[in-house]
Amino acid sequence: MSSIRVLAPGFQTSVQDLGRFGYAHLGVAASGAADALALRAGNLLVGNAENAPVLEMTLVGGAFEFETAAVVAWTGSDFGAGLPLWTAVEVAAGTILRCGASHSGARGYLAVRGGIAVPKVLGSASAHLMTGLGGQALRKGDVLPIGSEAVREARKQAVRPPTGKGPVRVTEGPQAAWFGDELYGAAYQVLEESNRMGLRLKGPAIASPAGHMLTEGVALGAIQIPPGGQPIVLFVEHQTTGGYAKPANVISADLWRVGQLRPRDQVQFQLVSMEQALQLLREQEEWLYGLL
């Protein structure tokens, strides 16, 4: 079987697909790619099913040796890997791909035709880094088998990547009525203590609401306000339930942009209607399926 050898793992590289579903009622977080749009695009470009496992790199990428020839696509942020971006390309047997630090956003994705064939745990190949469920960050010397589950021809013309400028759009969260509009307009800074579980922000404090909050299920992209008033965006490894009030929730079409935020980046939020959120998602899906 063909495989990829990890010569250097990078800062935090893991195998991800679209996540682990159907177990939240047992306390199991979905996990999955932080920028699911880049993951899906990479898979479509190399001819995989969109949910095939890929490598997700964060801030600083690793070095990888291809033991056999492969067809790959790099999507997400540019990590200076020496590959053309957002297109399928062939790499020869023995190729060593050396990635550096990200030039733009937080995450880069290496999709390989056939998929990364690690065992699935509870239906998903995604590592949940906080608990180790489904795998951990890659280590030097790991060998990743390449699968054979491609479903169509690879696309070898570069595509225009999505652009994410302006405020991150949100819809009202379950406790929106408890809050004013303090979340909107001000710029928040992404703090170093951010990870796949949540992005901690720093900016104007938001007053704690008076309402009585009972622990409840939390949605991907929920913006919660703990007692200090500094918002946290709950992300792909978030706990299944939580006890803080949530004025807003990032729209599906902008979740990938959250996955690309780096420490010290500035972020602003803009409230949109549910109809606008779903329209933006439809447009994004049309763009994505235009890659086929």
Partner: protein, 217 residues
């Protein structure tokens, strides 16, 4: 029952805003009514008095998930009627496995033996699993055992630790950080990704702690 969007890919179904047996039964009923995961329903997040439903926004709308919820919850309920399971959790209280047992005794003004006796004397209800894989939110801690959390959480709480935090008690299924007072440990695995189902407990179970002969209380 109140139904409202939590995001553009989820719906929050609430049964009041208090911890009660009545709202728990409705949560249980809704989870059991949807745990066959109809197409496009991705995850169910039960809690004390609500269920968050994640769906695939490319296959489902808020409206049709709401219709599904109302249909399923109105259908004759065979599942909730099934007998409550009682799960016994053997616990070695005190000693190295329960480093905070003496502190709980001091705080509550009881002897360590009495803390163990009270903790193991009563059935607990599994309101739901959440927070981390297999972690049960339990109801029924005798009020006299309530003890504040540690001022500084431990970086590592071993898997199987049985603990009290405020007016709650629970078991840590996997090793994790934690601020509750550890009074004992069970050798039972509460979560095993390779098992079917992966969690030992399920929502609605009755749980009893049973002191093992090695208990030091």
């Amino acid at each position: 029952m109140e139904i409202r969007p939590a995001s553009d890919r989820s719906l929050l179904v609430s049964f009041g805003d208090a911890i009660s047996l009545d709202s728990h039964r409705q949560v249980l009923r809704l989870v059991r009514a949807l745990e066959d995961f109809p197409a496009g329903i991705l995850n169910l997040h039960p809690a004390y008095a609500s269920v968050l439903i994640d769906f695939d926004p490319r296959r489902r709308t808020h409206n049709d998930v709401e219709v599904l919820v109302r249909e399923r919850i109105a259908a004759p309920d065979e599942q909730t009627a099934r007998a409550t399971r009682t799960i016994e959790i053997p616990v070695c209280y005190g000693g190295a496995f329960g480093p905070d047992l003496e502190d709980v005794a001091r705080h509550t003004g009881l002897t360590a033996a009495r803390v163990v006796e009270l903790h193991a004397s009563t059935p607990y209800l599994v309101y739901f699993l959440g927070f981390s894989p297999g972690f049960p939110y339990l109801g029924g801690l005798p009020p006299e055992l309530a003890t504040p959390r540690l001022a500084a959480p431990r970086k590592v709480v071993p898997a199987g630790s049985v603990a009290i935090g405020g007016s709650q008690t629970g078991v840590y299924p996997v090793e994790s950080p934690g601020g509750w007072r550890i009074i004992g440990r069970t050798a039972l695995r509460l979560f095993d990704a390779a098992a079917t189902p992966p969690a030992l407990l399920r929502i609605g179970d009755e749980l009893r702690f049973v002191p093992t002969p090695e208990t030091r209380g």
